[in-house]
Subunit: 398 residues, 2 copies
């Protein structure tokens, strides 16, 4: 009954999602307060202004406009508000027509990949990376090409990148700030990436789309800047989601930016709008589009300090206990070196202490684990004795 | 830059959507009140209890639960509420596990087709039908097989159907009540369909999934019953959307039912849940899932009388002016015979009178047009002189 193409997913379903379901089961068994679930990037910081926006919109807007169909690309006024905001913040010159509202970033990635990929086209990603990308690329019969991780800095290995670009390369996906490492690619790195791409486009006479997946754009700490890629490379597409910056991952709201500088941009915008419809989304959820507009107009984002405080607590505790980990500048993840080679064993050991996190093999980077610290400060504090016990078991601490 | 597979869409984009955009342009030029737009199935009847639900949920539910991730199939309690309601109404025995919440019916169709189709598999549809199905089937390299329309009754031509089933047939899509004709397939028709499918499954030793796309289930007039297909055929999948029954098409909320009786149902439910994620939806919008639960618990549906009143007004006026049309029992469409062979010419003529509707060729049934009467009673009333003028131009009336 099941399609051949879907069968591999059954054997190898998302370990992150499996861990999330496991966490829910354990919470039922042991009580939510006795399970330290760091598996999913499910934000825990409320953004009350989102609810303010909903209340105001429901009370003031016409029912059938608020909940009805609009253009498949989204409400023109919402797209214009986002364009204006990006122009102001990053010195761009987008109009509403450069934006397509999407059902989150996952759907935005599907829309752009469906719009550009032919069977066999190669899409380059940098390990560690969110392996859901594999599924998105396979949806359109593309082929994922993985650049091996630089486990010193977790920055892209540029020389390997340049070597692996071929005449079949159609796209490159970066994720900045990065899930699962929390590192932020600097302006210098983006410039180097862009220079390589331009060189290779010329060498092979091809077009390569640099897709920047940016759900964590607003989550950068200590004044670290996240470069806006359309300012650095002509064939750039930005994929954004409000899941993390407004703590609404369940609501599925984000957008695509396809700038005028991109080759055949008019055609591509038209095709991506159709892809949004034909993939079955039709349009991004309507009320949430208007909520986004309200939040931009009222300058709302999640309280960053909460996550920064979480980071500081868990990072200093874990390194004190002897764990090894690069200090992240953004997102809400720690990417910790496993004290044993098989990090899945490490995950199992932690689970015995009711601590849940995700193996690095789920990010094409075995030997590491991802700890999502978008949980309450209190959960982190209460989990520390368990982490200390685990460290002891591995002889990292006394 | 554009994928080969997407190129045909550019030449042949949705005529319905093009008409909708044209309607918006004309409304700007002539004033909304002077354009009689019957192009899109965009409900105009508010369901204020939807807003009540939103207000209550926002005030009482935990922020991160209401707007956060849940299982990819949707909140278990929401799915259980829907299952209970279906069991009560249709004598089924579904549990939460048989349901997957989806981003509307369009996404539900994509999810089930992605889950079952292999390249070259045939999917049978009955003209006239919603031609977006073509795109959905093509997404997974399936092949649409069209059964020609019975323009007398607009019921499925069962003998042609039986002939066109081959060993490559994987699915059949029906749409009941029907868009664009408004007819409702009776229990007798569904029984005959099921009998043919069972016979052919045995003859060819294959499994054929009967997919019933039911966004108009709640919109049946005069006590007409819409049979619930899982009661008639084992390999049935129901695709539902609240777009029409709660007037929220922009919000993208619906569900799939995969019953236990379906072959390999456990596997298929798992795969469809993964498909929901991997296609990029991840999950159906979270707040709206809870709104659905509230509306079921409070027995909320759209006020049917409004649409019935609309139907009676436009049907009697148009037939009085000499137009030919089957009286619809459900949905909110009239499928009217074009007074000239080329119905696109008829659409153009109507447009000169500021009346917009959609050519039947958009439903694989040229020679007819679809008039969506999910507009205000007042709009219908004000449009009647224009319809009368059009009828005069074609010599249908004095």
């Amino acid at each position: 009954m099941v399609s051949e193409k879907m069968k591999p997913f059954m054997a190898n379903n998302s370990a992150i999602r499996a861990m999330f379901e496991e966490g829910n089961r354990m919470a039922e068994q042991y009580g939510r307060e006795n399970v330290y679930d760091f598996s999913l990037g499910n934000p825990n910081v409320p953004v009350p202004q989102v609810n303010d926006a909903i209340l105001e919109l429901v009370k003031t807007e016409d029912f059938n406009t608020l909940h009805g169909y609009m253009s498949n690309a989204g409400y023109p006024d919402v797209r214009q508000t986002i364009a204006d905001s990006l122009n102001l913040r990053f010195g761009c010159h987008f109009s509403a027509g450069n934006l397509i509202m999407t059902v989150g970033a996952a759907s935005g990635l599907n829309v752009i990949l469906k719009s550009i990929l032919n069977p066999g086209d190669e899409v380059i990603v940098f390990a560690p990376y969110f392996v859901e990308y594999d599924g998105y690329v396979r949806n359109y019969d593309g082929k994922v090409v993985v650049i091996s991780p630089d486990t010193e800095t977790f920055m892209p290995k540029l020389s390997e990148f340049e070597e692996k670009i071929t005449p079949s390369t159609k796209a490159v996906i970066i994720n900045n700030p990065n899930n699962p490492t929390g590192v932020v690619y600097s302006e210098e790195i983006i410039r180097s990436l862009a220079a390589i791409l331009e060189r290779k486009e010329k060498e092979f006479g091809i077009s390569i789309v640099l897709i920047s997946d940016e759900p964590y754009r607003e989550l950068a700490y200590g004044g670290v800047q996240v470069p806006f890629i359309t300012n650095y490379y002509h064939n750039s597409v930005v994929v954004y989601s409000y899941s993390k910056s407004l703590s609404v991952p369940g609501e599925r709201i984000g957008y695509l930016v396809i700038p005028d500088e991109l080759e055949d941009s008019k055609e591509l915008i038209q095709v991506a709008t159709i892809a949004n419809r034909v993939l079955g989304c039709v349009n991004a959820p309507s009320l949430m589009q208007k909520v986004i507009q309200y939040c931009i107009e009222h300058d709302v984002t999640v309280d960053l300090e909460t996550y920064e405080r979480n980071r500081d607590l868990i990072y200093s505790a874990l390194t004190e206990y002897g764990f090894t980990c690069a200090k992240p500048d953004g997102a809400f993840y720690l990417f910790v070196k496993s004290p044993v080679e098989d990090e899945k064993e490490f995950c199992e050991t932690a689970k015995k202490h009711h601590v849940l996190f995700v193996p690095g093999s789920s990010f094409a980077c075995p030997g590491y684990v991802r700890i999502a610290y978008c949980v309450s400060y209190d959960q982190i504090k209460r989990s520390l004795p368990a982490f200390k016990e685990i460290a002891k078991e591995y002889g990292l601490t006394q």
